[in-house]
Assembly symmetry: C2
Homo-oligomer: 482 residues x 2
């Protein structure tokens, strides 16, 4: 049963089912609604997120059915009368789902996913959508940050043993690859997604031999093309490194080469410099230095500044759990509702906290790109506006009318959402995952470094079109207490 | 394919497979080894952990097989010669796995799980074992802390939407129940594990009606026996609460009752006091107050101190991700190895960091219980010692010979590990999950509150028997550089 978790219609919060039941019983099952998925804050106080998880969301939504078993369980709860159980039994999703492609760089307060469907359909997919996209986007974002810190050095995901369960590990490896890592230790992710695999041996390999040198030699004999030796089982400088150098020289005599050594504890800056010297002095310039041990973007940045000679960064726990900020608070909010068969009426959620006031209506987010292919801001339009109208574009701060931005007419405008499901049918071809990863790189290359730094990044502007701004102001003024 | 993640033999790090291949090729596949699973530090600098995940680990290990598909993938990597692929093809686990029952309170440096098997068998299960037990133990521990903070108040898991993927959510709900929560919003967890379900409606329900009062009334009409009204869609005090009171009175006239109101934002201490007053003044003393909104043990403790009138705590993100400490660093270390067919030789991993020096040998952890059924310390014995020998017990600090503890002869001694798999065969009957949860409560009731506080908890002593201590000292002195 556990294996089916990923596709189950029961992967939801009970209140979604009681609300759906309520909509059915109250005659509201046909009412059409628009929901936006967006986040309000970037994890780690960063400047951007990288969207991931869309492929799993689309598969979930398309295949959403209640099995006989599910229905029997729901009936056993004694909560749902017959018309509701029948609704569940007949259920499949017939709505529209638009989304940013995976690997898109995204910012607070803009819709990353837009769902237009009947109220119960839109509600039934909420929890799974949030669960899948919040997590994968969190990890893809973390991976992108780690890769930025590595400044072109190779980053490998080593996190499976500390990920949140088996599937948490698999999805983390997928998302980390979307975010830019080059390989993973996770064999299942290699098989499922074609992610390149990396790994050689652990301390237990060394300890299982009479001596470290025996262990290294045996490994080099058995896998002569993939020799990365872990040097800290006993003492990195006094034992591991000299033994690795010796085996490296022996490999060289056989026409093979030592691919690298791995440091897994101690002062990685100092040890890597000493290792580089020793390897170079012994003619092993080709051998790389792999480092692991509670790495994240902050530590990598610091090690880089200290002149660490590390070529490959094995990042585990702090990547796959996004340790320093382990949840993305993405939400899914009602923004428009067809009331009594009239056209969709925009909905706004008030709050004392200005960050929590939603942007009403069914919206089209547009990205503004300058002549150097740098992205300069996003603007939200209403769906019945023409965002490509030729003219300088004046965009409004989400709340304050005196704060405006003007984008020159020659800046290009790109639509951010693509149709994924239309009337429940799939209309989007998901690219292979290595293309998604390239998409991430391309997106990040269009984003100025000021948005990418870890401390106090520059704020990327998400603004509103004039019509959307004015409509929001009207709703803010009019919306009293319900 | 994703659905099978939970049981796949490929749910492992590549280096486990290259090491296994190495053992096979180097003629070491029959060498018998002992590995311990333990942790060195309690998350959140807490005083204890609650073990969870054993049932999933046992199922994983028992069912571990490489499918044809797996073998084809491994062959395609070009890393493994024929004898290794054949080994994988024939593989199943024939070793012994001993473990603490789920719900056991556990402490740093003691074996929670002990695996005795051939080197490759023990190595092949490492990653999945770590992944499953690290995560579930992390969440069960967090849940126990949250329940301690709630001081007998009801705690409900609301975290699915922020958990690390679908299965991360399911396993988090399971572990949270083991740790003491009373229910979950996660319908799949309800079905899979019989966990009681909780939940009524969200803001979108309220927004989909012309008025809040309409929304509340409709809900109360449809689900008259399960009315908990979310009062903060517009304004908790000025709108939500008066409307809930009105509907509560109407329910009362019909012989039904308002079960509660839910506060999801704002100052929960103040709002809950005001809500209690309003409900009581209107004869709705039976209606409970549910609070949610980024709760964790620290915030609940603080709200309690401020006199918050909250009966039910809905805890989400910070529970299912263990937000303030999102990974348990459990490890799985070689502690003994049969060398050349002789008896098992104890193995010790040295480190400059005293916390990282392992306890060698195949060990039996014993719990010392006083006459008031309070647990007073754990002592690790070697497997060929008799831990129940009648006499006062002198136990040694893991490193320093001058630090000893003496336990009186009348203190009871309990063995902590039970056999789960023997020769690969299951020998342990897993209790129903509600029994496991009771086991947690019983265990926690035996632990003095000094170990349970959140700030600077008292350190629970895990000591060594005299023989184990002396053996470890010998190995520390003798172990030079390998």
């Amino acid at each position: 049963m556990v294996e089916d978790a990923f596709r189950s219609a029961l992967l939801t919060d009970l209140y979604q089912l009681t609300m759906v039941g309520g909509y059915v019983l109250a005659g509201k099952a046909g009412q059409r609604a628009n929901f936006d998925y967006f986040f309000r804050q970037v994890p780690d106080n960063g400047g951007f997120c990288v969207l991931a998880g869309l492929e799993q969301v689309a598969a979930y939504v398309r295949n959403l059915r209640f099995t006989e078993d599910d229905l029997a369980y729901l009936e056993s709860l004694g909560l749902f009368p017959e018309p509701v159980l029948s609704y569940f039994k007949e259920f499949s999703f017939h709505g529209d789902l638009y989304a940013m492609p995976e690997g898109t760089v995204a910012f607070p307060q803009e819709p990353l996913i837009r769902v237009t469907a009947s109220l119960p359909e839109a509600q039934l997919i909420e929890t799974a959508l949030l669960n899948i996209v919040n997590f994968q986007t969190l990890i893809a974002t973390k991976a992108a940050r780690v890769c930025i810190a590595a400044e072109g050095g190779v980053v490998i995901d080593f996190g499976l043993r500390r990920a949140h369960g088996p599937n948490g590990g698999l999805m983390a490896s997928r998302a980390a690859y979307v975010g830019g890592v080059e390989g993973t230790s996770n064999v299942l992710a290699g098989k499922a997604y074609g992610i390149p695999l990396r790994g050689t041996h652990a301390h237990s390999w060394v300890e299982s031999f009479p001596s470290e040198l025996d262990a290294f030699r045996t490994y080099a004999d058995l896998y002569p093309d993939n020799v990365v030796l872990l040097v800290d089982t006993y003492d990195s400088l006094r034992s591991g490194l000299p033994h690795a150098v010796q085996v490296g020289k022996e490999l060289k005599e056989r026409g093979k080469s030592l691919r690298g050594v791995r440091l897994d504890s101690g002062d990685l800056a100092y040890l890597s410099q000493r290792a580089r010297e020793e390897l170079d002095r012994n003619g092993l310039q080709d051998a790389g230095i792999v480092a692991s041990s509670d790495l994240d973007e902050w530590l990598i940045e610091s090690l880089k500044k200290q002149g660490a000679m590390i070529d490959i960064w094995g990042v585990g726990t702090r990547l796959v759990t996004s340790y320093s900020s382990p949840a993305l608070g993405g939400v899914y909010k009602l923004t428009a509702l067809d009331e009594n068969g009239r056209k969709m009426v925009p909905k706004l959620k008030r709050s004392d906290n200005p960050m929590k006031i939603t942007n009403p209506g069914k919206k089209v987010p547009i990205r503004i790109v300058d002549e150097h292919d740098q992205i300069r801001g996003d603007v939200l339009f209403l769906v019945d506006e023409d965002p490509f109208e030729e003219a300088p574009l004046v965009a409004f701060h989400p709340l304050y009318s005196h704060v405006r931005k003007e984008y020159p007419a020659h800046f290009k405008r790109e639509e951010l959402l693509v149709p994924v499901l239309v009337g429940g049918e799939p209309v989007y071809e998901f690219p292979p995952l290595e293309e998604v990863r390239k998409n991430t790189f391309r997106n990040l290359s269009r984003l100025d470094r000021a948005y990418k730094r870890f401390h106090n990044p520059h704020t990327y502007h998400v603004s509103l079109s004039k019509r959307l701004f004015e409509m929001k102001q009207r709703l803010l003024v009019n919306s009293g207490i319900g």
